[in-house]
Amino acid sequence: MNIATYARRNLFRRKGRTILTMVAIALAVLIFSIIRTVIYEWNRGAEEAAQDRLAIRHKVSITMELPYKYIDEVRATPGVTKATWANWFGAKDPKERIPFFAGFAADQNSFFDVMDEMSVDPKVLEEWRNTPNGAILGDLIAKTFEVKPGDDVTIASDIYPGDWKFKVVGIYKPLRKTVDRNSFIFRWDYLNNSDAVPPPMKDKIGWILARIDDAAHSAQIAKSIDAKFEDHDDQTSAMSERAFQLSFMGGFTAILTAFDYASVGILLILMLVLANAIAMSVRERTHEYGVLRAIGFPPAHIVGFIVGESVLIAVIGGLIGVAMTAGLINGVMGPFLEENMSGWFPYFSTPPYVMGLAMVAAIGVGIFAGALPAYRASKLKVTDALRRLD
């Protein structure tokens, strides 16, 4: 036997309390992991953005449009291998089956060439070029609208009035998990030529996506593009695709900060619960600690017993929590979110570093929770401890 045996045996002294405490710890670890996973995966889409692509938009507002001729100048910029453009359509489902989906009017000759993570059969592209009101859909939106290639589909727009009827010519295949499967892409010239766009508003594009030859030159090429349009009325803001996607996240900083605080908060609650449980056990064993000190165990040993027991409970509870995390998040919650909320969370699984962080947090909580009761027990005079008959 050694000191560890004593610590271990003490766990079973009050089985109910020990088990309840471990459940609380496991729960806290689970919650902590969920919160940190959400924070981690929130920006995941941006992390997987293409390194070798730039997004160019109007400097003042994403809602303001650029002149059509800008595309030629961007294509002519050194470092740019190919470029395409698209306009935001503000698409809505007239039957309200889905609250929101991304509708674009894009260039039929270059869009899928630049956005090659949306893979389209060359025959489909050919047909698209021959069908003025043709549209290429993601598999999920096609399922929602209950259409397949060859069918007609009607959508509405927030921005452009009336009903818009398109012919589905094909479905794109997403080559990466972060690709949105609910996109609806039709021809830009169809929009531009329609009456919905009055003559003064014609020949305008929403934003440009450009492929560059070397990802390392991304910042320089972006600067040179912006420099070209510096003196025009409509200035541009070019940035890496990752920065572009993150720019939509600026409005969420407060929420993510709140999540951060929440993950600390749950640890605080846990610390209070564990500290309370340990303090109660220590109080009940004050007499016994007195005996041990009479026999000659120095106060440091007593501190070690108490903190050691606290950490042991925390570690076991923590391990249970990590197991629950792996099972619940990676096993059940993750795949569910990835399938049904793939727009928000194309990936949802707890990375190992979060589980490691949770274990470290559990150990830390164990140490701090045990520290104060241990300190107080060690400060007690031996004779006082012996007198207590709790």
């Binding site: 045996t5 005996v291 026999i295 000659g296 004779t383």
Partner: protein, 227 residues
């Protein structure tokens, strides 16, 4: 081990005053005590006379307000708390009224506790535990838990724990207080054996006249002074 007859406990001018709030409560007053090595002392006296306080001072559990304490060659009043703890583990064996065994450990593991403070190997510790339990006659109860034993057996295990480190002095506070007559006699017989055959110095505080009879020296403490 101190030679027979040499003074093993020397207390001089011991004063001990407790405080209840601001009010001083004097318990021991200018007390002197010499205990020869190998002696079996019984200290008696009415409640509140300070018997346990005196015992605590001898055992290095408490300090006097004034006076000099020399036990087994060490000057206790000059030692720090840490030094006292170490000294206790090497020099004193404790026997308490309420046995004070740890309920979640077996008899053997309880006896082994003081040995964890030494640097002995696991095998060496096991040997000493077996020896101690044999001396008290409970070797067959090695792996039993305190709740599986009678009061008398628990106290004998406690005595085994007290002697496993081969202490110079055994300090006993009302060792028979919680026992029935038969068990009490068993314990007293055991303590006599430790004193006569193993030469242990024993300092015992007691109410029990039977216990006092077994001792070689009987002292009385009244109102803080030895009679």
């Amino acid at each position: 081990m101190a030679g027979n007859g040499e003074t093993i406990v020397k207390l001089a001018g011991i004063n001990k005053t407790f405080y209840r709030g601001k009010e001083p409560i004097p318990v021991l007053d200018s007390l002197d005590l010499d205990v020869p090595s190998g002696s079996f002392e019984a200290l008696m006296g009415p409640s509140g006379s300070g018997k346990s306080t005196l015992l605590n001072i001898i055992a290095g559990l408490d300090r006097p307000s004034r006076g000099s304490v020399s036990v087994a060659g060490s000057q206790l009043d000059k030692m720090s708390d840490g030094e006292l703890a170490k000294w206790r583990s090497q020099t004193i064996g404790f026997v308490f009224q309420s046995f004070n065994l740890i309920p979640v450990l077996t008899a053997a593991q309880n006896v082994e506790l003081p040995l964890l403070l030494t640097g002995l190997s696991g095998a060496e510790r096991k040997k000493r535990v077996a020896t101690a339990l044999r001396i008290v006659g409970l070797e067959d109860r090695m792996d039993h838990y305190p709740r599986q034993m009678s009061g008398g057996q628990e106290q004998r295990v406690a005595i085994a724990r007290a002697i496993v480190n081969d202490p110079k002095i055994i300090v006993a506070d009302e060792p028979t207080g919680d026992l029935d007559r038969k068990s009490a006699d068993d314990v007293l017989t055991l303590m006599t054996k430790l004193n006569k055959e193993l030469g242990k110095t024993i300092f015992m505080v007691t109410h029990d006249p039977h216990a006092a009879e077994v001792a070689t020296v009987q002292r009385k403490l009244d109102k803080g002074a030895l009679l």
